[in-house]
């Protein structure tokens, strides 16, 4: 099987005053074309760092990323990124925000064609009536819809989603997950989503990659999600296999993701509080405090 995205021996180190800190260590993953991958792990474990490296927004310290036969070493519109906060430019309307990217990718197309592409994706995500509004006039959910439209309108080789629904309420989240799946199936894109929501991972992904806790985070386990597509949320909830899968992922996050050593038995007790000062000492302390 030839892989579409190949992450091999990926490392990320940050310099700190106490010397270099390895956040991600020896991260290996091969992704097939058209596959939907979910990357889960505890907050701060480095999953967003992995996504930033694939997006080209963060440098790779060691190892390499190959996407569709080409090494990734800078950011570019062949990877559509959906950020956690939608990152729309507030001085442009929803349509102009999407057009900004479309103009970069379809630079040979006519103005009308570009506009049609942008309008098409905005309609698909349900923003047909709000295209000419600025982000400040849109709700959180609508902004993220626009962020998704912007990413898909680039016609990228791959989609990278960094906790895209983390800031939304549950109902909006479920709606947008369906919008995302719908677009993903329509365009046959390869996608990688970073999330800490186990249900989201199981509903969206073909494979769930579990990351161990940082520092030196890496792939802890990979779970194949075998539910047939198109998936139906209600049917999933009736499937006992869904709960087994859920249990398996939660068990990993709660027990197996920690590889830090247990506390030593001879840990010294915390220092006892000082006894209250008396006499002259107390007066001196009061004066010093004043």
């Amino acid at each position: 099987m030839s892989s579409f995205l190949d992450l091999s021996r990926l490392h990320k180190t940050f310099p700190t005053p106490k010397g270099p800190l390895t956040v991600v260590k020896d991260f290996n993953l091969k992704v097939r074309k058209g596959e939907f991958i979910a990357l889960i792990g505890h907050s701060g474990c480095g999953k967003s760092t992995v996504l930033s490296m694939i997006a080209g927004l963060a440098d790779v310290s060691l190892g390499g990323i190959v996407l569709a036969g080409k090494e990734v070493n800078s950011a570019g519109p062949d990877r559509g990124v959906v950020f956690q906060s939608p990152c729309l430019l507030p001085w442009y309307t929803a349509l102009e925000n999407v057009l900004l990217g479309v103009e970069q990718v379809y630079y040979t197309a006519s103005k009308l064609e570009r506009r049609q592409i942008a309008e098409y994706y905005l309609s698909v995500v349900g923003l047909a009536d709000a295209m000419h509004k600025r982000p400040a006039e849109l709700s959180q959910g609508m902004r993220q819809r626009c962020g998704i439209a912007r990413a898909f309108a680039l016609s990228p080789k791959m989609l990278l989603l960094d906790e895209p629904f983390g800031m939304l309420d549950n109902l909006t989240k479920m709606e947008l997950q369906d919008v995302l799946l719908d677009l993903w199936q329509r365009d046959q894109k390869t996608a990688l989503i970073v999330t800490h929501d186990v249900d989201e991972a199981l509903y969206l992904a073909d494979r769930v990659v579990m990351m161990t806790d940082g520092p030196e985070a890496t792939v802890g386990d990979i779970f194949e999600v075998k539910f047939p597509r198109p998936r139906n949320r209600l049917q999933l909830l009736e499937d006992p296999a869904y709960y087994e899968a859920r249990e398996y992922l939660l068990h990993f996050l709660n027990e197996r993701s920690h590889h830090r050593p247990a506390l030593p038995a001879d840990l010294p007790p915390p220092p006892a509080p000082k006894p209250p000062a008396t006499g002259l000492r107390r007066i001196m302390d009061a004066l010093a405090a004043a």
């Binding site: 950011a75 570019g76 519109p77 990152c87 430019l89 990217g101």
Partner: protein, 264 residues
């Protein structure tokens, strides 16, 4: 609506009280300690011909007040335009490039506190070759260089404050440098730039009076100085009030423009 009307009357009443108190204090001063200070009534008497015929031209210095203000504003406009055209790019460079900031920031910090009165002679020396235009050009130079700093510094701060998220959007889309500048950086810096523009305009208006006093170029500043020499002290007060009013109006206008960009 009623509350609005009520508020309006209250504000007007308070304003009237303030003005009356000031006029009272002024009358008291001129009646007791400062005998040479004209009373409000005497000031009105000397200022009357300038106010009632604001656009009259009776002689080189003897002109209606709005005509005089017009001369001053025209020069301010030119100097201010130069300040913005030169200052904004310098601010961008200071904000964008650490190297440029390291080299030029200390120089900016040293030149910034220099008084307009100190720049003016240098300005006139610089333009000695332009003959009779030297005075005017020197004044322009002084306005431009003094008014530039708030624009430079606020633009630099604004550029440094552009959220990384916006820059990331530009990087992901692989925008060219020009597009990055005009589609992302300039719009993101605009609110800061306008704060700088407003402060710069205030300074430009401050400098014009000093420049006109020293160069004798016709305008409100030289009018004030001439009337001092003519011992028409009432017109000094009248000029001060005029300068204050015009400055206030300019600041209001810029505030309106600024707030429009703040919400965008």
């Amino acid at each position: 609506m009623n509350a609005k009307l009520h508020n309006f009357f209250l504000n007007t009443l308070c304003l009237a009280v303030g003005v009356l108190l000031s006029l009272g204090f002024w009358s008291l001063l001129s009646a007791t300690v400062a005998k040479d200070l004209p009373t409000p009534a005497a000031t009105w008497e000397v200022a009357k011909p300038y106010i009632l015929e604001p656009f009259a031209k009776r002689g080189e210095q003897d002109q209606g007040i709005l005509r005089l203000v017009g001369y001053s504003l025209a020069l301010v406009a030119k100097g201010y335009a130069i300040a913005l055209i030169v200052g904004t790019p310098i601010g961008f460079l200071l904000g964008l490039s650490k190297g440029f900031a390291r080299v030029f920031d200390p120089i900016v910090q040293v030149l910034r506190p220099v008084s307009p009165l100190a720049w003016l002679p240098l300005g006139m020396v610089l333009f000695l070759g332009t003959g009779r235009q030297a005075l005017e050009n020197g004044a322009l130079f002084t306005i431009a260089i003094c008014a530039m700093w708030p624009t430079v510094l606020n633009t630099a701060v604004g550029v440094r404050a552009i959220p990384q998220d916006y820059l990331n959007v530009g990087r992901v889309l692989k925008l060219s440098r020009v597009k990055m500048l005009f589609k992302i950086m300039v719009p993101a810096t605009l609110p800061y730039m306008f704060t700088g523009f407003r402060l710069s305009l205030g300074i430009a208006w401050l400098v014009i009076v000093a420049a006109e006093m020293l160069t004798g170029r016709t305008g409100v500043g030289s009018f004030l100085w001439n009337e001092y020499n003519n011992a028409n002290y009432g017109n000094i007060i009248f000029s001060i009030l005029t300068i204050g009013f015009i400055g206030f109006i300019l600041d209001r206008l810029m505030s309106v423009a600024e707030s429009r960009f703040k919400t965008a």
